[in-house]
């Protein structure tokens, strides 16, 4: 079934150009081109669309306003801004309603790639209501203690970016949000930002401060939620995997970028669980209660009770937020043994093994999500590494304690 896209721009020539340039996609995409916000809303009322690509600066109703409405009324759509302005202000205003921010002139290849990735991940979600939940998410909730810590740190004028990084690198939700921002066409930044410290240095303390204090893109977990009990375990696990993934990467390669991406991917690998715990706490609790109890694997239980797995949800979220493809892929397939079987060492490899090592040492049912038949160290390429890599977990425990 072809995807349906709506393009909005007050400049007719831009629309015409896009129509022509994307003409080659006519078999996969059904596209409509409208000249303003009102027409866009009208079109949306008439027929459903999968994605909207809107200009930012338009008369009467600008892109941010339009997308805000779209988010309310047609929450399962992928919302992308394609703007000629790339000032900080415009980007910040779009953060709330848009999933991604692209700046003109944007290569149609780039646009196609981003949309294709989002659609691909969405197709994995068999439950359409889940897609709506994900695309409605403005943010995923942070661990309350870290949220407060960042809040306190930012209250001081003199907080350095290093201190901010020290906090954000421990929180899955904030790290994901920061990467989303950094991968927007933010301040002219191009290319894919997969390192948290790179992302933070691009954004700067001042913007983090406004994200936190005036745009409120960060939120915290509801302590009274049914799933609240599982939250600390999830954060501990994410940190452990991030740390171990980086450690493993460091032992395998000197490339700093790979190490950084391993850390980021490790931190984000279970981001789908946060979405599920936050958005479907009751259902997910049932999953937790049954983990390890019977024939059904963790992921089977997720499919039974939620309709899809946490890695699918996570990958979709990361995809519509425009994170680099490698991260999206890793989040989506960190349980696939295929990842570990890849002869080329990648952050995904590191995360797979880190997850395997960390889960084995964890008691929370939340983290017992490995496939029962997963024995990555039995792969010939890695059997020799097992004793060394396993010692990294002790190092981690020491590091955390110290």
């Amino acid at each position: 079934m072809p995807k349906r896209l709506l393009f909005v721009d007050d400049e007719a020539l831009v629309l015409a150009g896009l129509r022509r340039a994307l003409h080659c996609m006519r078999n996969e995409w059904e596209m409509r081109f409208v000249g303003g916000g009102a027409e866009a809303l009208q079109a949306l009322d008439q027929e459903p669309f999968d994605a909207i690509v809107s200009d930012m600066r338009m008369p009467l109703m600008d892109g941010a306003q339009l997308l805000e409405r779209v988010k309310e009324r047609h929450c399962d759509m992928v919302r992308i801004v394609l703007s000629g302005q790339s000032e900080k202000e415009a980007v910040l205003r779009s953060i709330a309603p848009a999933h991604q921010f692209l700046s003109k002139p944007c290569d149609v290849q780039e646009l196609k790639a981003r949309l294709a990735q989002a659609f691909a991940m969405r197709d994995l979600l068999r439950n359409p209501s889940l897609a709506a939940i994900v695309s409605r998410l403005r943010s995923i909730p942070s661990l309350p203690t870290l949220y407060n810590e960042l809040s306190a740190a930012l209250a001081s004028e003199n907080t350095s970016i290093a201190e901010i990084e020290q906090i954000i690198s421990r929180d899955v939700a904030m790290a994901a949000k920061i990467l989303q921002l950094a991968n927007s066409a933010f301040l002219g930044a191009r290319g894919h930002v997969s390192s948290l410290s790179h992302a933070l240095s691009l954004i700067g303390a001042e913007i983090i401060r406004s994200l936190m204090l005036s745009i409120h893109v960060f939120s915290q977990f509801d302590r009274h939620s049914h799933a609240a009990a599982y939250i600390p375990a999830l954060w501990d696990h994410s940190m452990a995997v991030a740390w171990l993934a980086r450690r493993i990467a460091a032992s395998e390669t000197g490339a700093k970028a790979v190490q950084e991406e391993s850390f980021t991917t490790g931190l984000l690998h279970d981001v789908g669980k946060i979405v599920l715990l936050a958005e479907m706490p009751e259902e997910y609790r049932r999953v937790m209660e049954r983990v390890g109890g019977g024939e059904r694997s963790y992921r089977d239980l997720e499919t039974d009770f939620v309709g899809c797995t946490h890695d699918q949800i996570g990958a979709y979220l990361m995809a519509i937020w425009g994170l680099p493809e490698s991260i999206v892929h890793a989040v989506g397939s960190h349980h696939a043994a295929a990842g570990a079987g890849d002869p080329q060492f990648s952050p995904l490899t590191a995360v797979c093994f880190a997850d395997f090592i960390a889960s084995a040492a964890d008691s929370s049912p939340l983290n017992h999500d490995l496939e029962p038949d997963a024995h990555p160290f039995e792969l010939p390429a890695f059997s020799a590494k097992e004793p060394v890599w396993r010692t990294f977990h002790d190092e981690y425990l020491l590091a955390r304690a110290g």
């Binding site: 302005q85 000032e87 149609v108 970016i161 290093a162 691009l202 303390a205 700093k256």
Partner: protein, 774 residues
């Protein structure tokens, strides 16, 4: 009276005469009168002795018995005295002695009387002479005050002769007594004559020439002569003395007044340290009570003073010391309990031989002066410590004073510039006219304000904001010029930086606006060209298919139509089109991408949003800068880049760092331009390197190199080798400020004459612990 030799001879000559007479008389009378001869001889002896004294008397007494014996005694007639004559020797000798004695007694008595008269007369004469030689005038008056006598000397005194005065019987002097003295004098005369009180008066009499003459007239007592009362007296001309006295008096009064009118408290003590006098001011300073002032004793005064001073012990110690060392002078300060500060000066009074007569103490109230001095000291300390330079010159501009700040600022010490003019600072930058106006203004008594670009001792330039004002004396004459100067180099630099920043901000805003305007058409140009690209390949294939499919068919069906078509194809040059259109499209896309790149570079370069330090991709920043500055270098140099891709983002003020790179690139281009001058192009090579804790950028040119003599100065603000108006002298100064000061980085260069220069910039990755500076 002694007899002369002649008289003595005469006296001896009388002896034979008398004896002869006695012999003759005896011859005659002997017969008549018996024994008369003896008596006659006796008489001759006595007469000789009487007239001639002892000598002749004895001589005659010895001769007389011989004669008597020879002539009158019975008949002996032998030489020597006969026995009959011998009894006469003793009576004759005795008589001679008695007569000589009597004669000399009588004679000497008679001579004494004669001498007395002579002496009296002589002494009278002498007395007259003495009187005449005295300045005094002697006089005699009778009881009626008639002048009986007046010594002629009077003419010298009063101008009147004594005759003139005697003629007036005393009226003349009496009537000419000074009216102020007349009563007193008259009374004194009365007292003298009536009550025998000695008369002793000094008074004035008008002299003959009308001048007042002071006389001292006196007499002690009266005497009576023939029943009339007289008095003798003297008067003396004392006019000079009177005048001297008057002068002394006035002088003394003057001195006393002076002593009292001086502002110093003065105490004079004698050689025994007893108070001789103290002046009014002294009494005031020490508030000496009346009873102590009136008390000649020293102790109460000293006690009084002692209880006033703050440190009585040291005060006393000094007094004691000086009294025991009379030759010493001293000058010190004492403080009273009421806060008054006194300058105490003490000096001995010595005569030329060094004899010590006493000591003068003088006390001056210097409280006000000390207070003024303290204020002056404070003010001068303020000037000395002032954060602005202060220069004081004389009217010709010669430096009389500079404060410490001046020395700090210029590097010249006061000693070095004293007597010189501030022209030593002149950098030659400011126009002559400015100095002319300056001098006109301040010579005209007005204040001049302005800015100088001056030169320090070490040759460094600096900017000063100066206010120069004349200093006038009481008469309104200019005595000095005061120049207060503030070093505004930093401010100038900041202003320049601010201007630069504003310029950058302006460019940034403009760039953002233009970017939006350009980005939109770029979007659809790109989209459309992309569409061409996609479509054309399909269309070209389609045309090819048509050509292949229809060719044979059309040849057969309609050769003319086929020929027509061939002709049309040839005319169109379809082969050329088919080949060129993809290139045209690809190049158009490339061009559009370049436009987009330039716009992005411009935006990135100007960074309007970067009030904060942000992570910056240095390689991209260099690329943007090269793009933006392309016009500066592309005509003189080739640009080569060599980037280290492992450099992580550097947290920095991106806009400013871009500016630094731009300045260095532009400098490199200029350096090459100076060298190549229309010949072969030079080369600029920009390298980036990851140096662990630093990112390093090296910008190398193949220009002239930096001359050694200016190498140390290139970072100085306002230093430029470019001609006036071309260079601001800010580029490298700004670079230094941005890299070294704001980013704790490093900036240095390597240069070789004629070969080129490489500038190195190092920026630290971590400014950990240093939060983003504002």
């Amino acid at each position: 009276m002694k007899a002369t030799f002649g008289e003595r001879l005469f006296h001896f000559a009388l002896v034979p005469l008398f004896l002869g007479i006695a012999l003759l008389a005896s011859e005659l009378l002997q017969p008549v009168i018996p024994h008369i001869a003896e008596y006659l001889f006796l008489g001759a002896v006595v007469a000789s002795a009487w007239v001639g004294g002892h000598g002749p008397g004895l001589a005659s007494a010895l001769l007389a018995p011989f004669l008597f014996d020879y002539f009158f005694l019975p008949p002996l007639y032998t030489w020597g005295i006969g026995a009959e004559a011998r009894p006469y020797i003793a009576p004759f000798l005795l008589s001679a002695l008695v007569a000589g004695f009597l004669s000399s007694t009588v004679r000497s008595a008679r001579i004494g009387a004669q001498d007395a008269v002579v002496e009296l007369q002589q002494s009278k004469e002498k007395f007259r002479r003495i009187l005449a030689s005295l300045p005094d005038v002697s006089w005699t008056v009778d009881q009626n005050r008639r002048i009986v006598y007046m010594s002629p000397k009077v003419v010298d005194v009063l101008g009147y002769t004594s005759e003139e005065i005697r003629a007036g019987e005393g009226k003349l002097p009496r009537d000419n007594v000074h009216p102020d003295d007349a009563d007193r004098v008259a009374q004194a005369w009365n007292d003298f004559f009536a009550a025998q009180k000695p008369f002793d008066q000094e008074y004035r009499i008008r002299s003959k020439d009308g001048a007042w003459v002071w006389i001292h007239n006196r007499t002690n007592e009266t005497y009576r002569e023939q029943g009339i009362l007289y008095a003798d007296g003297l008067f003396t001309d004392i006019t000079p003395r009177k005048h001297a006295e008057f002068e002394l008096k006035s002088k003394t009064a003057f001195l006393e007044a002076q002593l009292n009118s001086t502002n110093e408290g003065i105490l004079v003590v004698d050689e025994n340290n007893r108070r001789l006098l103290l002046n009014r001011r002294y009494a005031e300073i020490f508030a000496v009570p009346r009873e102590i002032l009136g008390d000649p004793a020293d102790a109460p005064l000293l006690r009084h003073v002692q209880q006033l001073v703050k440190a009585p012990e040291t005060f006393l110690a000094k007094v004691d010391y000086l009294y025991s060392h009379p030759e010493e002078t001293s000058d010190d300060e004492i403080e009273l309990k009421n806060g008054t500060i006194l300058d105490r000066y003490s000096a001995p009074v010595l005569d030329e031989t060094g004899k010590y007569y006493g000591r003068i103490w003088s006390f001056r109230d210097v409280t006000e002066r000390r207070r003024n001095e303290a204020t002056l000291r404070q003010l001068s300390a303020a000037v000395e410590q002032s954060p602005v330079s202060v220069i004081i010159t004389d009217p010709s501009g010669k430096i009389a004073y500079v404060n410490r700040r001046f020395s700090e600022c210029t590097g010249y010490s006061f000693e070095e510039v004293r007597g010189k003019t501030p022209r030593i600072l002149n950098s030659g930058y400011s126009p002559r006219e400015m100095y002319v106006t300056l001098w006109q203004t301040i010579r005209g008594g007005k204040e001049w304000r302005g800015e100088f670009r001056n030169k320090k001792k070490n040759g460094e330039f600096f900017w000063e904001l100066a206010a120069i004002t004349p200093i006038f004396d009481r008469n309104g004459k200019i005595t000095h010029y005061l120049s207060v100067k503030e070093d505004i180099t930093e401010r100038k630099k900041l202003e320049a930086e601010l201007r630069q920043a504003q310029k950058l901000e302006g460019i940034g805003q403009l760039a953002a606006g233009i970017a939006h305007e350009i980005n939109t058409p770029t979007q659809f140009v790109t989209d459309n060209v992309t569409f061409f690209q996609d479509s054309w390949s399909a269309v070209a294939q389609l045309i090819e298919r048509y050509r292949r499919t229809n060719k044979d068919y059309l040849e057969k069906a309609s050769p003319s139509a086929a020929a027509e078509l061939r002709e049309a194809e040839a005319k169109l040059d379809l082969d050329f089109i088919s080949e060129e259109i993809p290139h045209a499209i690809a190049q158009s896309l490339d061009g559009a991408r370049r436009v987009a790149n330039i716009v992005r570079a411009m935006k990135e370069f100007s960074h309007p949003d970067s009030a904060d330090k942000t992570g910056t991709d240095l390689n991209k920043a260099i690329e943007s800068t090269i793009t933006v500055a392309r016009n500066e270098w592309k005509y003189v140099a080739e640009m080569a880049t060599d980037f280290d891709e492992t450099i992580p983002p550097v947290v920095c003020y991106a806009g400013e760092v871009n500016q630094v790179i731009l300045n260095l690139v532009v400098n490199a281009a200029h350096a090459i331009k100076d060298k190549v001058n229309g010949n072969e192009k030079g080369k600029i090579t920009i390298r980036s390197r990851n140096r662990g804790r630093f990112a390093e950028i090296a910008i190398a040119d193949t220009g002239m190199g930096i001359p050694e003599e200016i190498q140390s100065r290139i970072y100085e603000p306002f230093f430029t080798t470019k001609e006036v108006g071309k260079g601001t002298g800010q580029g490298l100064a700004l670079a230094y400020s941005v890299i070294v000061k704001k980013h704790q980085g490093k900036l240095w260069f390597e240069t070789e004459k004629g070969k080129g220069t490489t500038f190195f910039v190092q920026l630290p990755f971590e400014t950990a612990g240093h939060p983003a500076e504002k």
